[in-house]
Each structure stands twice: as C-alpha cells, then as structure tokens.
C-alpha cells in the first residue's frame, strides 16, 4: 500500500484509485471506532424495567377519556419500588409520547391511581395486589407487574425473568377490560400473550 503518493511518481490511475480507497477505509476505521459499540455496562434489572415502562407508552394506545386533556401528560405510577421509580425518572427526562409529557406519579395514594396511565406494581406490593387491581382494572390504565400470577389476577403486562433477561407476558383480557390497545409489535415481542381472541 502506498502511503505517500508523492513517492509514486508513475502512479497509474488505478493505483491512485486504490490508494484513495485505502485511505478512505482507514478513515472509516478511525471514525467508526466510537460507533461500533463495545457492550454497555450491564444494565440492572431496575433500569431495564424502567426503560420497558417507558417503552410501553409507545406501543399502547389509550382511550381519549384516559386523559383529562389532550395535552395532559402521561403519568406512570410506580408502586412499591423506589429504585425503579428512580431509574424511570432518568429515562423519561424530556421524553414525550404522542405530544404528551411523561411523568411519574410518585405518591402512591389510592386517589391518584386513576390519573395514571401506567401503574407498575412491584413485588413489594404483592399483598395488596388484588386490591389494587380490583380497584383499577376497569380503568384505562396499563397495569404492569413483576410477580407470578399477575395476569391471572387481572394484570395486563407482567415482567418475567428468563435466562437473566427480562421478558414480557401480556394478558389481552385485562387489556380489553381496561380499554388499552396494545400494539401487535409489543405483542410480538412478548413471550406469552394470554387471552388471544384468535
């Protein structure tokens, strides 16, 4: 490979072309270094779940009555897990979906639940799970849980762990009940979808 074109006085056209191609290749190698991803630090389970929670906003359609106003923010309520809540806060910074801001409903008060569009119920709230679900399962709220039997109890999406990866289970009955529309894309990535009509 010719590094110094000046030294190659009788450089043929093809030679020059080859040389330029070589230079371009080197440049691409250098520039592309940053883009070729070395693996990011392994995300924690809480971080993954927080991201998932946010991602759900993109694959789920809520009925208009779920929002007080057209520009009302989308509220995500995290129950029983401060870590996730913290992580979520980082994820949703400056994020919008369908023109709505995404916000966290941090107060776990029962009267604030109906305002939320997504409510994550941590395994810490396992005891109260049926009660919570009973209270909001008819509301246009996407309920997300991380405990076994969450779908059976009326939850819509449940995080499961499989091969150290967070996977999804989706219960379409509960979704229908809550009148939230879950996109097929989301469904396609879910390990289990219950209550499929067809």
């Amino acid at each position: 490979m010719q590094i110094s074109p000046q030294m190659q006085k009788p450089a043929s056209r093809s030679g020059v072309r080859r040389m330029l191609a070589g230079l371009a290749f080197v440049a691409v190698l250098l520039c592309g270094e940053g883009l070729v991803a070395a693996d990011a630090p392994v995300a924690s389970e809480a971080q993954v779940k927080a991201v998932f929670l946010y991602n759900f906003t993109k694959y789920v359609d809520w009925p208009t009555e779920a929002f007080a106003r057209t520009n009302s923010p989308l509220l995500i309520g995290v129950l029983g897990d401060g870590t996730i809540s913290e992580e979520l806060k980082k994820v949703i910074v400056d994020k919008t979906v369908n023109g709505r801001k995404i916000m966290i409903q941090e107060t776990g008060k029962e009267e604030d639940w109906p305002k939320c569009q997504i409510i994550f119920i941590s395994s810490a709230e396992k005891a109260r799970l049926p009660a919570i679900l009973a209270k909001i399962k008819t509301l246009p709220i996407l309920t997300v849980g991380e405990a076994g039997g969450f779908l059976e109890q009326g939850g819509i999406i449940n995080f499961t762990k499989k091969d150290d990866r967070i996977r999804l289970e989706i219960g379409l009955e509960a979704a229908r009940l809550a009148k939230v529309q879950i996109s097929s894309q989301l469904l396609s990535v879910a390990d289990t979808v219950k209550g499929k009509s067809n």
Binding site: L35, K58, I166, Q185, L186, S188
Partner: protein, 789 residues
Amino acid sequence: MPLLANMSIRRKQTLIIMGTSSVVLLLACAAFSIYEVITFRKAMVQNLSTLAEMVGDNTAAALDFNDTQSARGTLSALHAEPSIIGACVYTKEGRVFASYNRTNDSMMFAPRTLQTNGHAFQGQRLTLSRPIVHLGETVGIIYLESDMQALYSKLTRYAGIVGLVFAASVLIAFVLSNRLQRLVSGPIRQLAQVTRSVALEKNYGLRASKQSNDELGQLVDGFNEMLTQIQARDAALQTARDSLESRVRERTAELAAANQSLVAEIAERKRAEESLRLLGSAVEQAEDSIYITDAQFDQPDSILLFVNPAFTKMTGYTAQEVQGKTPRILYGERTDTAILARLRAALSRGEAFHGELINYRKDGSEFQAEMHVAPIRDAKGAITHFVSIKRDVTERRRFEERLFQSQKMETVGKLAGGVAHEFNSIMTAILGHSELLLFDLPEGNPLRKSASEIHHAADRAAILTRQLLAYGRKQMLQADVLDLNTVLAGMENTLRHIAGRDVDVHIAPSAGPKLVKADPGQIEQVIVNIVMNAADAMPHGGKLTLETAETFLDQQYVSRFADLKPGEYVMVAITDTGAGMSEAVKARLFEPFFTTKEVGKGTGLGLATCHGIIKQSDGHINVYSEPGRGATFKIYLPKVRLEVKPAGPPLKSPGMPRGTETILLVEDDPALRQMAATLLERLGYTLLTAGNGLEALNVTHQQTTGRIDLLFTDVVMPHMSGKELADRVRSLYPQTKILFTSAYTENAFSHQGVLQPGIALLQKPFTPSALAAKVREVLDSEKAAAARQ
C-alpha cells in the same frame, strides 16, 4: 488532412454524417446508460431504504424490549429478498442487536463500519444504514447490504440493447446518408464531371444540368454562365489569334525576306571584306612599290597619302617620312622630265600612264623604275586619287642589256659562221687545188711562185675562216678531260714567247689537278689569245699572272648570264698590269671584228673566238678592268672528275701516206668532192664518190669489188645525215671504217655538239696533207676501232 483531401465528396459526406451520428449516438447512449445507472442506483437505494425502514419498524419493538429473538426473526424474513446479502440491527448505543447472513446463518453478519444514516456502493455491493425510529425516537440502527449483481446484469442487458440500437442506428444512418447525400453530392459530382469533360475535351459548349434552386443550383448556374463567358472569350481569342497568326505569318515572311536579304548582304559584305582584306594584304605584301596620291589638279603636285612596305624597301623612305610629300622626292637629275610631262598630261586627261623613269632613293642612289599610274574614280566617276605601281627594273634592264648583247653576238656569230662555212669549203678547194698545183708543177716553173702565193693566201683565209667558225660556235670540238694545270704548264714556254721579254709571266696553279672537259687545242687557243691581248696591253712591259682555282658559281651569279648553270667550276684567271679598259670597251670586248688595235694589227676575232669557244664548252668568260689598272680575264669551265686522257701520239707524219683501199667519198660540195677525190686517187686509193647519202647508198649497192674500206663523209648533208649514212653502210659492210668531216655540227650530232669519243673527225677546212694523214690513220686503226666497237 491529406487523407480527407483525396476523398470524394460523396465519401466525405458519408463520413461526416456517419461520424456525426456515431458521436451523437454514442453520447446519447452514454448519457442514457449513465442516467440508467444513476436511476437504477437511486431505485436500489430507495428499495433498500424502504426495506430498511420496514425492517426497522418491525424491529423497533424488539429493540425497545430487548427481544433479539424477535429481531432475528424479522431479519430472517429478508431471505425472501434474494439481493440482500446480509443485514444487521444495532441498538442505539451501536451494539449489535441482531444480524442476518444470507450465505451463512451461523455467522454473525456485521459491517466493518457503521453509519447512522447513509449508503455506499462498495464494489459489487450496496450498503445502507438507517436509524430505527419509533414514534420520533431513535431506538436503533438497521444496516443492509445488497448485492449489485442485479444492477450489473441489468446494465449488461442495457449495454447489449444500446449496442444493438447503436449498430442499427448507424446502419440506418449509413443507408440514409448514402441515399440522401446524393441530393448534395449528386449535383456536385455532375458538375465535377462536366468540369472534367470540359477540361479534357476542351469543349466549352458543355453545360451542367441544374437540379435544384439552392446554392448548388446557383453554383451550376454560375458555372454554366462562366462556360458561356469562356466560350465567348474563346471565340474572341480565336478571332484575335487568327488575325494575330496571319499577322505573324506576314511579319515572319517579311522577317524571312529581310533576313534573307540580310544574309545575302552579310555574305556580300563578307566577300567584300574578304576581297578588301585580300586587297590589303596584296598591297601590303606586293613586291612592287605601290602608293596612292590625291588628285588635286589645281595643285602643282599630288600629295602622297599611302605607301606600301615595298615602297619603303625600294626607296628607303618610310611612310612617316613621305607624309605630306609629293612623288617629286623620287625624281632627280637624270629623271627624264619629258616622261614626267607626259605622265602629268595623261593623268590630267584621266588616262592611265605607263612608262619607265629613273628614280632616286633616299640615299641618293638611282634605280630604273617601271611605273603604272592610274586614276581612281569614285562612284560618280570623278577622279579622287591616283595609284602608282612601281617596279625596280634596274636589274632586269641590266640583264636585258646583257641578253641583248649576247643575242647580238649570237646573231653576229651565226652570220659569221654561215659565211665562214661557205668560205671554208671554198678555201679547202683553193687550198687543195693550189697544193695539187704545187705538187704537179716541177721545180723552177715560174708558175710555182704564183701557186705558192695562192696557197699561202688561201691558208691565211682558211685560218681566218676557222676562227670565225670558232667564234660562231659552229666548229667541231673534240672534247677530252684534261687538267688545266698541266695545260698551263705545257704552254709556259710558248706563253713567255708570246708575251715577250719585257713581260714577267708568272704561272700560279693551285694544288691538285683542275679537271675540265674541253678541246685541249681550243683551250690553248683561248689562253694564247688572251695572253696575246694582255701583251698588247703592256707594250712597255709588265706582269702577267695565270692562276687556277676551283670555285662555285651560285644561282645568284649565274642568273645574271644567259646559258650558265650553277655548280662547281675550274677558273683560270689571267691578270695583266696593262692599260686597262673603259666600260665602253668592256661592253664590246667580245664582239667580233671589234678591236682597239691599229688597222691591220688584229683581226678583231681573237677574244670573240675565245668567247665562242668557252661558251661552246658550257663555260663562262668575264673580264674585270678599269682604265690604267690592268685587266683580269676569268675563264670558268665546268669541273669534272674523270681520268685525264693521256696525250696521244703526234698525228702528223712527214710526207703524204698512201694506200690502195677502196674509199667511199660523200660530199655535197662538188669542188671539195673533186679536190678530195683527186688527192686520194693520186695517193693510190680506189675512189667511189657520191653527192649525198642516197647516191652513196646506190653506189654502195652497185659496188662490184665487194668491199668498202673507208667511208669519208660530210656530217651535214641534204636528205640524209652523215651519221645515218654511216649506219646504213655499216649494216652492209661491217668492216668499213668511218671518217667524218664537217665545219659545223648543228642538228647533226648530240646536243653537246661533239662527236662520240673515238669517232674520227676531220675538221673543215682541211689541207690535203691533213686529209691524207687522217685517212691513213683511220684505215690503220683497225685494232683500236675493233676494240672500240
């Protein structure tokens, strides 16, 4: 463009059309192809982009929810798209999320480089990356790599089609242009053909046909118009040329005539020049003196204008010296003025003059000039000059004088000889008869005295006659080779006696024999005569010298005398110290009967006889003398180189010898014949006589005795000469002896005037005793005669 320059316009046109259409077509095909490639590439990118978006959409959820399984599933759906070689989905952090490899599923497909958004053609591949955006949020990157094979195969197809289209187009263009170019080249070619025909046939009546109204039509019109004009101009030119040619012919004829006359004139002039030159050289080289004078009649004399070199040679005056002079410079004391007067008179009448004049040279010496003077007239006949031609005739005059002199002497000699010849016979008869008379008369008879006187007088007359004959060169010479030194030595005593006691005779012979051929008696007579003359010139004594010498007479010397040949001569010079002679005496010295002596002292025949003898011997005699200075006589005789004949025994014997032989005597003179016959019969001989040759032959034939011992005949006779007669007689009687007698020999014998050596001759006049002695001598010379025969 030499290649194009030689091409026909038709080919050029076709070439141009083909070239243009090919280039345009090529450009069009290239543009089309490039456009196609670009379009196809764009479409490919578009397709790939769409595919990427689709796949991206389908993998957004998988990305969002970290479902690589799902993403891989989505990517593997790309299998349906055969051009896709590989695909890869990255997380938004750039980590490979899922990949697809068409050829090998197990191998993870990943590009070397990754762009968030963009595409690149790499070799046979098209790579494309797009961000995966879901709801306005980039969730990852999709990367696709597509095979370009399709593009290339499509392009190959395109190239084929384009090639076909190109070929078809070019073919069509060729066919069309081939047809259509005739519209343009047809008229041009026709025009060119007509032009060529016009050029080749020189037929300006040809016309090109007009086929269109465009510029070509205008060209044809212009060309035809030009031809028309050329034709008109040709016609005009032809007319002009014809008239010019006729004029040229006329002029040429005139010139030829002029030239001919010029040539003739030149030839004439050349001839004239040549004759002038000839004339000039003739005048320049002429031996005669030529001069030209002017013809001014009003002047006393003409002026000399030209003289030739011979003039200078003759007169001593150069051309410069005579300039402005008159011919009078040539005349002097002895010039005959009467002749000059006649000359002037003739010239003034315009007549030529011819005459002789004494002229004078520059040095004063004179010469005799024969002159011709003629007037020179100009074209009008007027006399402008005179030309004089003079020849120095001094020498000629002298020669002529000498010739005249010798002719005079010849005439006188002939006359004297003729007279003497007649006299001779008479004298012989008188002598003979007087002797017979004395013979017969007894002693004491008174008649004896008279007879003796007659005999004595006749003897003197005979001597005189003999001298005259000698002078007249009519005598017979008996020439012998002799030495003049010996002759002189033998004569010494005689000469002293003749010269007398007061004269000192000195003989000075030069060394060696001085041989000449001459009659010794005659030579002696010449010497005696001269010595006698010398003695007479020295009455009071003096000195006489006789010398001999050999000398050579050259042409220049001999030419001054008639009958003298150049060659070697023996000279005898006889010098005296006597009174000498004047010119006048010298001039007549050798004339017969000329004498300065008192009357009765000399006959005047002595020196004349000498002259005659020497002349007859082919010699020459000359005299040098001045008054008071003595004289020198010089005798020249041709030198010979023969043996000297010893002197013969004395011929005379006392008494008259007798004989009994038969003698035939032939003599035309009756008196002489009678005298000789009487004498010989008395001496005992038998005589037969005849008056001429014919008679003699008759007598010979009638002769009965059968012998003739001696023929005694005259040499010169009418009808038959003595010599002829001798030959005839000898043919009958071979033993017959011959004795000739003659006074002269003219026409009788050889040109030399002498008898052949050994032939017996008795010279007239002869005495009876001489006759008797000679007859006996001849008859007795049998042995000698036989030896000579």
